[in-house]
């Protein structure tokens, strides 16, 4: 279980998170929504351990944890295949086995034939799919997704979400998805929490997902008065 207990985080004089509590059960998919700049990414970074909380306690289950960043963050000097294989090698897998495994993952995200392309040769969406393949390849216990579909068109986004859902369900992975797009969270998440501009989390009622999506979309397209 992931637990954030009364967590606070400041960057210099700016308080980003304060008194934050969140529990995510094993196998649960939680979406954190909220406008940009409210500290959603900071929550994920706290979970990875690369950022330490100033207050409170962060508990993450043992086992592999992977992160799909907002941007692909691929090694520009390595091919798509090597970008996936390298995380398997980091886990201790042999070079040849890692490449074989990585080939399968690239195929699963629809990139068969692009194994030997370098990131600069791929479109933004394709590069992000390599990043998703990289995150899934190590079969993580905890998967963190930071607006992972922002570079993709809707059709591809839905296809990737279906794929993610299948893989997540088959592996009882714990997933935390942060996004500013509520509909994205509604498609993937079991539970959705909203991060308010004050840095607090508020549970959203997702019993009627369609109504929630309609409400959110209409607020989005409502003309400013």
């Amino acid at each position: 279980m992931i637990v954030l207990d009364n967590v606070g985080k400041r960057f210099d004089d700016l308080t980003v998170l304060e008194g934050l509590d969140l529990r995510v059960d094993q196998g649960e998919i939680v979406g954190i929504v909220g406008p940009s700049g409210t500290g959603k990414t900071t929550i994920l970074k706290l979970l990875t351990g690369i950022v330490e909380p100033d207050e409170g306690r962060v508990t993450v289950p043992e086992g592999p944890l992977t992160y799909v960043f907002q941007e692909p963050r691929l090694l520009p000097w390595r091919t798509a295949l090597d970008n996936v294989a390298v995380v398997l090698r980091a886990k201790g897998m042999g070079k040849s086995a890692a490449r074989t495994e990585a080939t399968g993952w690239l195929e699963r995200v629809g990139l068969k034939g692009f194994e030997n392309y370098h990131p600069e040769e791929l479109s933004g969406g394709m590069a992000q799919r390599v990043a998703i393949a990289r995150a899934l390849a190590v079969q993580p216990r905890v998967l963190l997704l930071d607006e992972p579909f922002s570079n993709m068109d809707t059709a591809l986004e839905i296809a990737l979400m279906d794929l993610l859902q299948m893989i997540i369900e088959g592996n009882s992975m714990t997933v935390v998805l942060v996004t500013h797009d509520l509909t994205e969270a509604l498609r993937l998440a079991d539970r959705i929490v909203e991060l308010t501009p004050e840095g607090r989390l508020r549970d959203l009622d997702v019993s009627d997902r369609l109504a929630l999506a309609e409400e959110w979309l209409s607020a989005k397209i409502r003309p400013r008065s």
């Binding site: 963050r73 090694l75 390298v86 629809g110 034939g113 392309y117 600069e120 394709m126 794929l163």
Partner: protein
Amino acid sequence: MMASITSPDRRDGVDARPPAEGRAAPPSVRPTGAEPASGSAPGSDAATGRPGRRMRRRSQIFYGTLGVAAIVATWQILSMVVNPAIMASPGATAVALARLAWGSELWLQLLITLRRLVLGLAMGSALGFVLGVLAGLESRVRAFLEPIRGVAVTVPAVIFALLALLWFGLGDLTVIFVVAAIVVPLVYVNTLAGVLAIDHRLVEMGRVYRFPRRLMFSQIYMPGIASPVLAGLTLAAGWGVRAVVLAELLGAMNGIGYAFSRAMSYLETPVLFAWIMVLLGLTAALEFGVLRPLRRRAMRWRGRADS
């Protein structure tokens, strides 16, 4: 677990582009909206940009040859109007060079100089690289080394040569010391710049994915700093050749620098010019035989992405 994306990926976007050389063929049907960044006209050679590059290369060779021809022509004209005691003609230089090459003199002196140059470059580059990495990773080391760097880059090579002569006397050690002293700050500055410019988002990715130190170094740090380090090595090689000649001129009894001073003392101008040619050949061999292939190898991924 065996799920994969089949739809809508395989609906649209027929890709007729042939695979680039040495790569796996892209699928015949490509995902919607998933154009590779470097994609261009399907099936055309222009897709890889090869003919354009070939033309550019030919043009570069043509103008480069023209530049060399202009230098030789100017040299020939000058040698016809200036006293041959101070300006040997290209012809006389070629004859002197052939004589040197025929005997053992050229190869012996070349080997002596090359050995000192390689040792000085290797020691200076290794020290500059290690210090550059340490300074890049630790600001206290950087602050500590800053005054030393300032001194090292401002002291002229001739001062190093005179000091080395004073400390070590005539011989190998003096020459190697001078080359290393000139090379260290050049490689240090470039390595430091490389380490400071490393993409921290990639380092963060490596930390999240728990890369062991070995992989962090080989997959993120080394490729990340390769370009500035190689630029530093290129600079160092050029300065190393100058330094080795200067040091041999002042502080050795053999080597190309010493051969210069001897040819000058005996007013053997064609021989002096022949040694200049040897030096140019040495520099060209370093550039085209070692540095350029190294840079190409390290930057191969960029060339591919540009094609």
